[in-house]
Every structure is written in C-alpha cells, then in structure tokens.
C-alpha cells in the first residue's frame, strides 16, 4: 500500500550517528573539521548547533532530547550526527568526527553491593509489590520448600529490519516514514518536543519488518533524523540504524534475578509463593520490567508476596521486549514449579491442576476465561505425555539423552482506549475504512479488513483499508498483544454507528467516525490468556549440545480472527521463546558500559537448523468481556513459558537443573 504522502526518498541525504565512547560525563568538544573536509559530507550536528527541543515542556523525555546538552548518560548515546550525499560519505564522516570528553565514574552493572530501590510502579502501571497472608510464617511451616534463584540475561529485540527513518521538513510540517509499531505514538511523542502540533508531524509506517516492542515508541535515532531534516529543509534525510547501534539505542530487556520460594504440602498444593526480583533500569529514564506480576495471578496459595527491586545504572534505556515481565518471570516460576513437582514426586501437569485457582488470587475477581488446565490436558494428549518416564536421565536415543518438559503460559488481555476509526461510503457498495493501526508483519492489515468487512456485513473485497498513518487520528501501538482487539473495537464501533446513521445502502460520501465503547463487565473480571508449552529436548551425551526436535503450544487466547495469521504468531512466539531458551544473551562489558555482543554473529538468535517440529493449537472460544469481536490477543503468549519448558525438558533428559538462561552445552558436557 502506498502511504498517503507518496515516496519521500528522492534527493535524500544520508544521516549517520556518532555515539559516545564513555558511559558518563560531559562532551568537551566535537571536532568536525576532518569530517567536514571529507568529500560528500554536508554538515555535522552536535549540541552546539542542533535545533532546540522541548521548549516549554515539563520533564521532557530525556531519551528524545537528542544533542541538547553536553551530558553523556550512557555509552553509545548520540553525541553528533553527520549528513552527507551518500551513505559511504556519511559513515566515513562519522568515523572522522573527534569527540573529547570529561569522563566521570559510571555504574553500569548490578551485583550484591548495588543500591536497590523499589520503584513506584512497574511497567506499565502495576504496583511494584504485593503481599497477602504471611509468607514467611507459611514457608517456615511448609513441609516442602523450593528455594532457588533464577536468572535471565540482557536480551535485545533484533527484528530482522533495523530501525530506519526518512524525514522531510517542508517548512511547516515534518513528515516521517518510520519503521514503527505506532505511527501516532511517534508523532505524539516527537511533536511537543519539536514545538509542533501533532497534526504537523505526519508519521507513516507502510511496511515494517518486525519490532518485538523495540519499535513501540520513538527512540533517539528518529528524533535525530527529525532534527537533521529541520537543518536541511526540502531535502529528505535518511537514517538507517545499524545492527550494532541497535544494541545501544533502541531498547532491550533487563537482566533479571528472581529469588523464588515455594512452600507446599507433600501433595504439591502450594501454601506460599514468594517472588523477589532484582533488575535494572537506566538512571535517567525508568523502565521497570514487570517480572513478578504474572506470579500474582498464576496459582492459588493463601500466602503470596512479590517485590521488584531496581538498580539505577548509567546505561542505555531498557524498553519493551516481547512479553516484558511475563517472559523472564514465568521462566523463573515455571522452572520452580518443575522443581516442586520433582520434590513432591508429582507429575508436573497434576501439580499445576492441584494449584488451579477458582478466582484471580490477586484481585478475587472471576476470570473472563481461565482454561489453563484444558490447555495442559490437550497438550498432554498431543505430546504423548502419558508415555513419559517419571525419572530424569532415563531415556537415550543413540548419542542423545532425551527428555520432555512442560510449562504454563499466560498473558494479560488488554484493550487500549483512545482508538478511533472512520468509515466512509464509496461508489459501487465499497467502503473506505481508516484506522491508525500498523502491520509490523503480523498480518494486522488482513485482520482489520476481515473485522471491517464482518462489521459492515460486506465482502472483504468491498473494503478499502487505510492505516499506518498518524494523520488518520489517535491510535495505540502494535504492542501488548492489544492491536487487533483495540483497533478492531474502534472499527466495529465505527461500522455499527455508520449503519445506524446511514443504513445498509448509503449514498457515496457519507462518513462516520467513532471510538470503541467500554465494556462494563471488563471491570469485574480478570482478563488473561493462558497456554501450555511442551518441549522435547535432546542433549548430546558427549558435547552437551542441545536440540529441541519438538515444541508444542496449546493456547486459550479468545476468538481467532484468522487461523493462518494466528498460527504464525504462535509459531513466532514459540520460536522466540526457544531462542531465549537456548541462545539469546547480551554481554554488557562492565569496564566499558556497552553490550559487546552487538551483532547477529555474537548475539545468537535461533536459526533454521535449531527449529524442529513446532506446533500450535488453540481452544475454540470467544471472550466478549474483552472485546466486541471476542478476541483477546495472541502476539506475545507464545514466548512465555517456552524457555522454562525447554529447561525442564533438559533436566528430564539429563538430571542437570539449569536455572540461568540461556541453557547451553557447557552445563551438560561430560
């Protein structure tokens, strides 16, 4: 689909970012002489000549206040940018810029001695702590206790398409073609800092090659492109963020340390759940991963306590990465549950059935749907769970130890407010439907067209869909597994109102704009999707290398709008979960403050040969408490629990318990 503004690329200048090589301090000088002398270099932006941002804005987002001061807050921060006639000249110009600094001591990693604080809230607005009953007393009396620490590493989103921006300033309006999960979110975060109305920042994201959360909001590169465009009016400015730059500038998942204590009766029935999380944020912009929030909802126990404690460091700002919170938290919880199953001599599925709550343990509200046990049982059937030997290290096939493991999965259902859609009647029974949705490769364009056609009662071929453009109006991001439900609810509202106002055979040119109506029952229910993940793991008896020949997810995720797209999303989640289980690991060098495994040769993601037989199934259902389509959302649940299922299967194969991700060969070599 061509976006409304047409292509912007003609006569473009290329922008290249210059990043700080210290973690904390001040820029003393940016020497651009050699860069400016290089053929093709047009200009060098730094804090002395960049357009001023954030005038009149209280507490501006420091991540977006690019080139506004001498302060260096993390290694890899944008400290200058080079505009040139070609990518080669821009890159060489950037290499020729000499930046001098006054360096200060920086704290870039956390350990036993780091000062920790409990934040006011964890992402997006959950309480940082919870405390019900008397956890310590219950643990002291519990007959079975699992008391272990689980770790997940720094992880970087790494969509195949790196971030990219093309920006054009025509003297009145700024136009951006942006690789984004939320064009309206980008426009509304950049506009005030630029002193512009949101309507005068037009952001389009016609095609996006993945995001995993890293494109859920504007990051510094997009603002740098906007600044550069203002200094070069009427010439588009192109910025392609390199893979290496993404490891500093476009978000990541914090490392997490989860101290878990489970207290149980000998039959495995939980009496206490204690989840203590230590993690980090940047000192200058807080993002507190909600690692323990899923623990509050998963299983019944009278005594439950969670706490998040945060180290504030001089580091790049962490951000949303697929299932922030649930992914690392459920790794810890579901490996701890497997350890409890072993300790009690209870089958892991039976253990989970015995701890199934009747209402949400956290709020006391009924679940709109909670079909975890059905997911586990259906998965057990599909995975031949009944054939599984009870004991670890009891099955071999040639040179491989063979084991299977299970973990529960969950993800909250969210419908974002503030979406609007517009329906316009056209000639020949066709309709134009506009919604500020964006398709980052999930197929949301197809899903929106289906939902619109269904709500209007016409064939999908009669719907012209316009999306991925901030000028359509307020819209939320393709994130939080909320896109289809949130945008779709607005589309349904606009279609229904259009029919009410204009009937079934409208004249061309009639138009209705509407936002989604609230669903009152949503307030009275706990809204979550659930799933069960099964993995078969083979561990090489000599080298310790791991393979996952089988991976299965069974999900209860509301109504499925499009089975082809849904299966692809579940597969993607399962594969990314496998990738986190076996591979992904960012190493931040504490001496420098930046991630040094900053390319896809040293930051491994799963490749084809790592993926075996991946299957996804879902339970047929509709959930009208969440959305008028009966959907709940399914973009993230596949990654939750998958790493735990793999670690549990590796234990079953070998008898070796790994409590830190990724699970690698060195734990098993003999």
């Amino acid at each position: 689909m061509e976006h409304r503004e047409g292509a912007l690329g003609k006569d473009a200048l290329t922008l290249w970012l210059v990043q700080s090589t210290i973690a904390r301090g001040r820029v003393l000088d940016v020497d651009a002489e050699a860069a400016l002398a290089h053929p093709g270099v047009v200009s060098v932006l730094d804090h002395t000549n960049a357009p001023i941002l954030g005038q009149g804005v209280d507490e501006p987002d420091l991540e977006l206040m690019v080139l506004q001061s001498t302060e260096v807050r993390f290694r890899g921060q944008v400290v200058a940018a080079v505009l040139a006639e070609s990518a080669e000249a821009a890159r060489e110009g950037a290499a020729l810029v000499r930046v001098s600094y006054a360096e200060q001591d920086a704290e870039v990693e956390f350990g036993p001695d780091t000062t920790l604080e409990i934040p006011d809230k964890v992402n997006p607005d959950y309480d940082a702590t919870s405390d019900d009953g008397d956890v310590d007393a219950a643990l002291a009396q519990a007959e079975v206790v699992v008391d272990q620490t689980y770790r997940t590493p720094y992880e970087h989103n790494n969509p195949l398409e790196p971030h990219a921006t093309t920006a054009l300033w025509d003297g009145e309006r700024l136009r951006l073609v942006e690789a984004s999960q939320g064009p309206y979110a980008v426009a509304s975060s950049l506009a005030p800092l630029l002193g512009l109305d949101v309507a005068d920042v037009v952001v389009t994201s016609p095609y996006v090659g993945g995001g995993f959360g890293s494109k859920g909001m504007a990051h510094a590169p997009a603002m740098t492109a906007a600044l550069a465009a203002i200094t070069a009016p009427r010439r588009p400015v192109r910025l392609a963020v390199t893979r290496q730059q993404m490891f500093a500038l476009t978000g990541y998942r914090t490392r997490t340390v989860s101290h878990f204590r489970l207290g149980a009766r000998p039959d495995g029935v939980l009496v206490a759940i204690d989840h203590d999380v230590v993690e980090q944020t940047s000192r200058w912009k807080e993002f507190a991963e909600q690692t323990a929030t899923s623990t509050r909802t998963m299983y019944a126990a009278e005594n439950r306590r969670t706490v998040h404690r945060l180290a504030r460091l001089d580091v790049a700002v962490p951000s949303f990465m697929r299932a922030p919170g649930e992914m690392p938290g459920m790794f810890a919880h579901e490996v701890a549950m497997d350890e409890l199953a072993v300790a009690c001599g209870v089958d892991p599925i039976v253990l989970r059935e015995r701890n199934e709550p009747t209402v949400d343990p956290e709020t006391g509200k009924p679940f709109s749907r909670r079909r975890l046990v059905e997911c586990l049982q259906r998965g057990a059937e599909l995975f031949d769970w009944a054939e599984r030997p009870d004991d670890a290290r009891s099955r071999a096939d040639g040179v491989w130890w063979v084991g299977t493991g299970v973990a529960s999965s969950t993800y909250p259902a969210k419908v974002m407010p503030a979406n609007q859609a517009t329906v316009t009647s056209c000639e020949a029974g066709e309709y134009r439907v506009e919604v500020g949705a964006v398709d980052i490769g999930t197929g949301s364009r197809t899903a929106m067209k289906q939902i619109a056609a269904d709500a209007l009662g016409v064939d999908p071929s009669c719907v012209q869909l316009e999306m991925a453009d901030s000028s359509i109006g307020p819209a939320t991001v393709a994130g939080g597994s909320s896109g289809t439900a949130s945008w779709g609810a607005a589309v349904v509202a606009a279609a229904q109102l259009f029919r009410a106002d204009h009937g079934d055979s409208p004249d061309p040119g009639l138009q209705t704009t509407a936002s989604a109506a609230d669903i009152p029952a949503a307030e009275d229910h706990a809204l979550h999707s659930f799933g069960a993940i099964f993995a078969e793991v083979r561990v090489h008896r000599w080298t310790g290398e791991l393979r996952v020949p089988r991976l299965l997810g069974v999900f209860s995720a509301g109504r499925i709008v499009n089975p082809v797209l849904a299966r692809s999303q579940f597969y993607g989640g399962l594969i990314m979960g496998l990738s986190s289980g076996l591979h992904e690991d960012s190493y931040r060098d504490p001496r420098f403050g930046h991630v040094v495994t900053q390319d896809l040769a040293s930051y491994h993601v799963a490749a084809h040969a790592d993926i075996g037989d991946v299957r996804a199934e879902w339970l047929d259902e509709e959930d009208f408490v969440v959305s008028p389509m009966g959907t709940r959302g399914l973009g993230e649940i596949g990654i939750v629990g998958t790493a735990a299922a793999i670690a549990n299967a590796a234990f079953h194969a070998t008898g070796v318990r790994v409590r830190s991700l990724p699970v690698t060969a060195d734990s098993f070599v003999s």
Binding site: E88, A95, W542, R547, D589, T597, H608, A665
Partner: protein, 329 residues
C-alpha cells in the same frame, strides 16, 4: 567507509606486484569478512586488489594429492566427490562453517585468511592489540566465552575462526604461496601463528604474498577422517571447540597413526601432536583418547568463562574417534 582504489588484475604476478608495492593494499577474495571490516572501520585499506578474476578456481586430483585453487568456492569444494571420498574431514569442516549463502561466496584462500571474530577486534571503540598494536587487549577480563585456552599471550587471547584451517592442519595440507620472490610452500600447520608479542599478525605470510592453492596429500588417515564441531547453534555459529581427527588402525585395532587438530582453542588451528604421540600404538578406547587429550591440555589456561572448553574439547575429540570407529565420518 574510507574511499579506496580498486584493481582487478589479470594474472597472479600482477596481483602480487600491486599489493607488494603498496603497504596500504589488501587482496580481496569473496569479501565475506573484509567487506564487514571496511564498513566497521576494522581495516582501512587504501587499495583493494580483487583476485577473484585470476582463475585459480579448479580442483585437480593426482594419485598422491588433491590440488585446490585458491578461488574455489567453499560450497563447490565441500561437494567435490574426490574431496568427500579422500578427505572427508575437509568437506565436513567446510559444511560446518557459515551459511549456504556465505559458502557460495567464500573462497578457499580467503577462508584461511579470515580474521578472529573476537568482539573487541570488531569494535573499534575498544582497545585491541590485533587491530591496533599496543592499545591493549580487552578480551582479557572481558567477554571470554570464545577466548583461547592454549598458546595465548598477555597481548591477545583471540581464537582463529576457520573450520577449514583445522581440517587442513590435521591432514598435513600444504599452502602454496606466490610472493614477489616467487613461490613457496608452507605446511598448513605453519600458516597461522601464535600471538606472542605481535597479535597483529595472524599468519606467517609476508605482505604481498598470495595464496594460490592448497594441496592435500592422499593417505589412509585422510580417507578415514572426520570433523566434529560443538557450537551454540545447530548451524551458522563459530566453534566453541572443534576437532579434526584422522585415524589409521592396524589389523589388531591399535592406532598405527593418528592426526588430531582443534579449533576454537587457540590463535591458530591447534595440532595436538602430543595427544597423537600418546595414542600411537594404543587401542583407541574412550579412556585412552581422554587421557591423550589431557596430555595435550597440560598448560591450558582458562577462566570462569572459558573453563568449559577443556571438557568440551575432550568430549568432542572422543566423539570424533567414536564416529570413525563406528565407520561414520
């Protein structure tokens, strides 16, 4: 990137002359490593001399050897029937490297001259003695999962990334080199060097010397050889450790002769001659192989992040021997 002159000479002598005359010149083969370095600023040559138009792209078999032109692509070589029959470890090593796309592009000589993937070597914002002599080694005390455990120095703990080079070191290959003063022949085990005080030099080649061919001698060892690689992904990952093993047994099953070389453990492919000596005349039992490996590993240096490499190289070598005894390659 820095602008550079580009030449595409017509014959090897001209290529050698062009590079030999210019200290800032480099040969360019498939470009799968050098082009990355140009973008990242790891190397900034003033002149590139493209050798892919020189021919040197055939595989010739005689009774005694296989001669492989430097420009034979990795994928073509891996699939060559003569190589697969007579030197299976070399074919397996090639197929264990990189991806199908990269193997289609990469050349035989270029594969041997690829440079370490040490993350600090590739990050121009951190000190690295190999990239900038005298600046320091960031890998010591830094990210160490891929660091060397044998033959490292206080200047450099990088490992050589080639799989092919490990198989060639095991099977007594010879690297044929053309320089300004004519041709010379270098045993594959002497092509790469240990870092000592000069990690900026990966090899014993002099500036301007061009690899023109690799020769593999025929032997029963080579015909009964294999390459086993342990890595963090099932494909498309550099070796944690690897082992190339060739085995020649007497009728009673004792080891008449054996070749062992390791990858992922040192600045060069590590030919484990002490382990070979320990195994000659012995039954190649699992215990005997492990004991022989341990003799070679005397003097290994590890830290928390690289300690796993010793049990892993022991296991990988033992498994390679196991495969050969089972009759698989």
């Amino acid at each position: 990137m820095r602008p550079f002159a580009y030449h595409r000479p017509a014959d090897p002598a001209e290529a050698v002359a062009l590079v030999a005359a210019d200290p800032a010149a480099s040969f360019l083969g498939g470009g799968t490593n050098l082009v990355d370095h140009l973008k990242l600023g790891v190397t900034r040559p003033g002149t590139l001399v493209d050798v892919t138009g020189l021919g040197l792209d055939t595989v010739e078999q005689t009774d005694a050897s296989l001669r492989i032109g430097t420009n034979v692509r990795n994928s073509d070589l891996a699939a060559h029937p003569a190589l697969r029959a007579g030197w299976p470890a070399v074919s397996r090593a090639l197929l264990a490297g990189a991806s199908g796309q990269i193997r289609n592009q990469a050349t035989t000589g270029g594969n041997l001259l690829q440079r370490t993937r040490c993350v600090y070597f590739q990050d121009v914002t951190t000190p690295c003695n190999k990239r900038e002599s005298g600046s320091g080694c960031s890998a010591i005390g830094g990210y160490g999962r891929y660091n060397a455990v044998l033959g490292a120095s206080g200047q450099c703990v990088a490992t050589h990334p080639s799989d092919l080079a490990v198989a060639l070191a095991a099977l007594d290959a010879v690297v044929v080199v053309l320089g300004p003063d004519g041709e010379r022949r270098i045993p594959a085990t002497e092509l790469h060097r240990l870092p000592e005080e000069h990690p900026e030099h990966d090899t014993t080649l002099r500036h301007g010397e061009l690899i023109t061919a690799v020769e593999l001698p025929s032997s029963p060892l080579a015909a009964r050889s294999t390459y086993q690689k342990a890595r963090d992904r099932a494909s498309y990952a550099f070796a944690l450790v690897s082992a190339a093993v060739g085995l020649d047994l007497d009728e009673d099953g004792t080891v008449r002769d054996v070749r062992i070389a390791w990858g992922g453990v040192a600045h060069k492919p590590w030919r484990a001659t002490r382990a070979e000596d320990a195994l000659r005349g012995e039954q190649p039992t699992e215990d005997a192989v492990r004991a022989a490996v341990d003799i070679e590993l005397t003097g290994a240096n590890t830290d928390d992040q690289s300690a796993y490499k010793l049990p892993m190289v022991r296991a990988t070598t033992t498994y390679a021997v196991h495969r050969l005894l089972e009759g698989s390659r």
